[in-house]
Amino acid sequence: MNPLTLLTELFPLGHEVRFEAEFFAGAARTAVGEVHVIGTVNNVLIGAELAHRLAAETLAVVQAHPRRSIVLMIDTNGQRPSRRDELLGIDGYLALIAKCLHFARMRGHRIVGLVYGKAVSGGFLATNMLADACFALPEAQIQVMNLPAMARITKVDLDCLRVLSRTSPVFAPGAENYLCMGAIQAIWTGAIAERLIEALQAPVADDRRRRDGAARGGRLFAEPISARVRHDGS
């Protein structure tokens, strides 16, 4: 969905979101109070500069608007693969966003993630995956990589991967699979402004993705394995 149309639908009471290249941010009104929107467009590849900008915006919200909820709408094809970004230590720039979002959560800012376009690997890891709860629109594409590239790199036959992805959410891209595995809390359909209000009012919990993934049958091992390591030998 076009991000401007989406913002209009999400915030019928209005917003002051401004765009600068692939980045956008600003205040928005909801029935349960002001929120701050931070997002990106055009499936942008996140390089060091954009990562730095996203961290800046997060820190600015924490400083200017204590406890204000943040709606993260990151549309990304992942990190920018370039020698120059690696030279600058792009991993550190992405880690900085993650630290700022974590800090905001610790300071009482609720973070609601919404994947409306693409969410891929490093760009997803450092942003929406830090939200208290991450949601997706039905057309959202979430993935590590597509099946043909996966087949090439893992040297597993593409047809074999296609067959497996019909029965297992592990292999194939898609918001439904991430829902099933617990990384997406719900897929928003219908009146999305109401879905947002519900998300802004839901109780905040610790990382519940393993429990959700186990309950939904999409990720059965992460929860029991981590529990066994927590308790083994004690």
């Binding site: 030279l87 880690a95 996966m150 497996l164 592990v170 699979n177 394995i225 981590s226």
Partner: protein, 295 residues
């Protein structure tokens, strides 16, 4: 006697690092915690899924630690592998050891478990942040054969401090990935000198991304851990984040136009940048001491 950290297996690294006889493994190989997804692909599994987790001591300090094994699928993070590290970090939040050590060796997400691997890395990231928030430092040791790439490089940069050897490598998109995505003219992954000076320990030390640079020697890593245990205290305060944000902003302004590490080292004030890769560690550290902290 020098005992190479790079050449060792994950279990050998642990044995060389810790006080003799102090290691206790959690969910060891006898408990057969294997990846269910590799079995579905008819691929061989490992009884520890490529990561060893447990507790032990260094000079009496109680620690929790995880060591990735590059020999199994490049140390990549699958569902079970990731859950073991996450569980260890959560354990640390309750047990409050002196620190958690992550002996990283990983290509990042295990593509054979694509979605499950990506979520697992995210869970490790959040567990690292929660562990630090609980006041327990998390230290990274990076000097193993396969280096540390993909999501595990972000994990590393979330931690309190990184110890690297010159042979250690750290980057988000690995040289091979960049070459296959953008072409050999962007990054020639077979140009070893280029790879080392872009993602290797010396460059990461010069820019301050790694706290300590040590010889490829397990005893040197142990000594570095001991030094950091005395000085590192988790700080995720607003002041710390604002300072880091400013530092990374200055880096973009100063070095954003550089296309090679040699240019950055020159801008930092190195007299003969091209000679730095050739120096032994002790000589290198002495030479660059005045340049550190300027990045």
């Amino acid at each position: 006697m020098n005992c190479s950290f790079r050449e060792a297996t994950a279990r050998m690294r642990i044995a060389g690092l810790l006080d003799a006889g102090s290691f206790v493994e959690f969910l060891g190989p006898s408990q057969r915690a294997c990846s269910p997804h590799l079995q579905a692909l008819d691929l061989p599994a490992a009884f520890d899924d490529g990561v060893v987790v447990g507790r032990g001591r260094i000079a009496g300090h109680g620690l929790l630690l995880a060591a990735q094994e590059g020999g199994f699928m490049g140390g990549s993070v699958g569902e079970v592998h990731g859950a073991k590290i996450t569980g260890l970090l959560e354990r640390a939040q309750h047990e409050k050891p002196t620190a958690v050590l992550l002996l990283v060796e990983s290509g990042g997400v295990r593509l054979h478990e694509a979605n499950a691997g990506l979520i697992a890395v995210s869970e490790i990231m959040r567990a690292v942040l929660s562990t630090r928030t609980a006041g327990v430092p998390v230290l990274v040791l990076n000097g193993a054969q396969y280096g540390c790439f993909g999501g595990m490089s972000i994990v590393s940069r979330l931690c309190d401090a990184i110890i690297m050897s010159e042979e250690g490598r750290m980057g988000l998109s690995g040289p091979e990935v960049i070459e296959s995505t953008c072409g050999v003219e962007e990054f020639d992954s077979r140009d070893r000198a280029l790879v080392w000076r872009t993602v290797g320990g010396k460059h990461r030390y010069l820019t301050g991304d790694t706290a300590m640079l040590v010889e490829d020697d397990t005893a040197a890593f142990r000594a570095a851990v001991l030094r950091l245990l005395d000085s590192v205290k988790p700080d995720l305060s607003l002041d710390a984040l604002v300072a880091e944000h400013q530092r990374l902003g200055e880096r973009l302004a100063r070095f954003g136009g550089c296309s090679d590490a040699l240019e950055i080292w020159g801008l930092l004030g190195a007299q003969a940048p091209e000679s730095l890769p050739l120096l032994e560690i002790a000589e290198f550290l002495a030479t660059v001491a005045p340049l550190r902290g300027r990045a």
